[in-house]
Symmetry: C2
Subunit: 416 residues, 2 copies
């Protein structure tokens, strides 16, 4: 149902020109925490003020050693992943870097002992649920991986299609954000997780890159998505070497100074560790100790994340209320209502996303480029726009949304 006013072209144009005249300079392009969120972790910087630099195993974290990470940080991530601490390698800032490193090992050394290094194979293809995380697609691109987009629904990627593609022996993996997904906000259903663990893959060394970046990022205390434990599912199906899990504290403590981790089967970890041992001396253990002194266990992380949610939730709600109020009557537009994560996924009328993003940009509001949520930037319907509401202060967000909804109306009106 479309309201009368929504598509009064002249009025919309007038409003758009007015907004353009304000000379705004606003940024809704990336999933960045705002300053108030960063401030929540300032006490972490004082956890070593007692000059006690000794971690649990008696080691001075300021010195060399423990390339797998200090025991307490491996245990913290193990609790978050739902695996044992021996299955965790903890790193430095940027889990994307750790994902890229895992792919590096696949390409240079093979995913595990006995497998051909992927760089020696003719072609490597990955299943890429879409819309998805642009950085994942860029990483695949730097390795020359051919990306096979698969449509994501509320319960995860179209599993019939995933299972069909996995029968191609060139398909060696899949990369995804399974919880509060970037950008859809969806969480994979138990059935999706089970099928991913159970499915037959033609490639014996198929690797599922499970980027669980938002596993702690609930917006509502009493209403959260739950993600099934993929590792346990794989164990049940005897496919435990299939999955490599990643997460980080980038959006828990500092985006520019967190710690990250990989979890996997003992065989995967042993193989990775034998290579990592010589490819670095150690990650930043000082920061690892700061983190575990500040957030010693999952319960502490949950309490900390409630403070984040209190800052983030009103921004999500402002977006949803504004979209509903301004665009609720407009045909052919939809958007997600995520219970966590960092994004709201907006679906514009076909052929309008690029135009809307351009209109916003010309009015001083920067959005993620249209198409970015697809491999090579190619959104076949030119309709998906990722809204990242966390970074701007609320006032700026309100203005940015006014520009955005006006741009959507203008593009929709001009389309007719």
């Amino acid at each position: 149902m479309m309201s009368e006013n929504a598509l009064n072209l002249n009025e919309i144009r007038k409003k758009y020109e007015e907004l353009k005249g304000l000379g705004l300079k606003l940024d809704m392009s990336r999933g960045k925490p705002d300053t108030a969120q960063l401030d929540l972790s300032i006490p972490m910087l004082h956890t070593l003020d007692d000059n006690n630099f000794i971690c649990e195993n008696g080691m001075d974290v300021r010195n060399y050693g423990e390339f797998k990470g200090i025991p307490e940080v491996r245990r913290l991530f193990a609790e978050i992943f739902g695996v044992s601490a021996e299955q965790v390698l903890a790193g430095g800032s940027s889990s994307i870097n750790m994902i890229s490193d895992a792919l590096k090992r696949c390409f240079i050394n093979g995913p595990m002992e006995g497998f051909t290094p992927w760089s020696k194979l003719e072609k490597i293809k990955f299943i890429c649920p879409v819309p998805g995380y642009d950085w994942h697609f860029h990483i695949c691109d730097t390795y020359g991986i051919e990306m096979l987009p698969v449509v994501t629904r509320e319960d995860g990627p179209d599993m019939d299609e995933v299972e069909r593609l996995a029968k191609d022996p060139d398909v060696r993996g899949m990369i995804c954000v399974p919880m509060y997904s970037n950008p859809t906000g969806f969480t994979y259903s138990d059935e999706t997780v089970e099928r991913l663990a159970a499915m037959e893959t033609a490639a014996p060394d198929f690797r599922l890159i499970w980027d669980n970046a938002y596993c702690m990022h609930h917006l509502y205390d009493g209403d959260r998505d739950e993600l099934a434990n993929i590792y346990e599912a794989c164990l049940r199906h005897g496919t435990e070497d299939r999955v490599l899990m990643f997460t980080s504290t980038s959006k828990i403590t500092f985006a520019g100074g967190g710690v990250c981790a990989m979890a996997a089967s003992p065989a995967n970890i042993a193989f990775a560790a034998d290579l990592i041992r010589y490819q670095l001396v150690c990650y930043d253990k000082v920061n690892q100790l700061c983190h575990t002194r500040f957030l010693p266990d999952k319960k502490a992380v949950e309490a900390h994340m409630r403070k984040h949610a209190d800052i983030v939730r009103p921004k999500f709600e402002l977006v949803l209320q504004t979209l509903e109020r301004e665009l609720g009557g407009l045909e052919l537009v939809r958007w997600g209502r995520p219970k966590g994560g960092y994004f709201i996924c907006f679906e514009a009328p076909e052929g309008c996303a690029k135009k809307i993003v351009r209109l916003c940009e010309e009015a001083g509001v920067k959005l993620t480029p249209a198409g970015a949520t697809y491999p090579h930037g190619l959104d076949p319907k030119d309709s998906i726009i990722r809204i990242a509401p966390t970074y701007p202060p609320t006032d700026e967000l309100r203005q940015a949304l006014e520009v955005f909804t006006t741009a959507v109306k203008l593009a929709a009106a001009e389309r007719i």
Copy 2:
């Protein structure tokens, strides 16, 4: 000339057994700073106590962004490398990791645009000056690089041999520590640097991995080695894309929490940056800012390094004095007298290094494994032992040296 007592076998055996009976547990195996050295950088942990997290370009270091490193840390390393800040990429902990990453790009993407990725080539060989740094050899090994050892003398590797090997098109690079080298302590002469820059290489994408880990690590204020600027030499010879330079603050601030950097030609940096941009979001910028607040420029680093030297120098001198006193008369043994770095290189009589290391181990003194300073652990003469005097407290170092010198005497005596 050999003193009478030095090889009185019975006495030496008795002494060795006595030392063995002490049940020592000492470690001279790795080049680790001691606690007093680590304590020098405690003030760095308080450089953000004013809650000012904004770096020079106005960015909050706690948030995402600046994958090349914050401006001030790039400038600091630029000053240390003797290049412009635009030629520097600053990273996280572990320059070894950054070296491994650079090799990764060579293997996956080719060293630069237009070159074949090394993983697509039949064979990759590297020139490896020996004795050298064991971790370098391990890294090469993880990439399947065939290592060609070249003997190092006081002025650097045998350049006739290096130039001869570089004529082989499969030889794609060389990896070395050019200053206060690990383990010899030698610094490459101006002529060596010039010849490395000038030499013809059959491979057009030859890469010289210049691990300048000890460039700030002088033991004596008034008596230091000087290393010529390899980049300037390369510029003179039009080979500026040949060299990739690395260093870190691991032995300046915290071995387990420093920052590292790579410097190279603008073309190399542009190519690397285009890949790194998508393979990480950013390194730990919080730690980068801590570092530059604590050590804003090279002068500050030099002042800080004098404090390190005051701790390290007496240990080096204790080693040299003890070796001189105990082994000064012994034939077939020699050792270096470095003016900086972290190691003293000991040359035992041929065929004795493994035995000496074993004797020390059995008497509770851990040394770097004999052979470790050669690719695949193969020291052809079984004579090189790396002494790492920095980590043990002076008392322990004295005991360890007593064990070591006794073991050398015993091995030498039993050899006759």
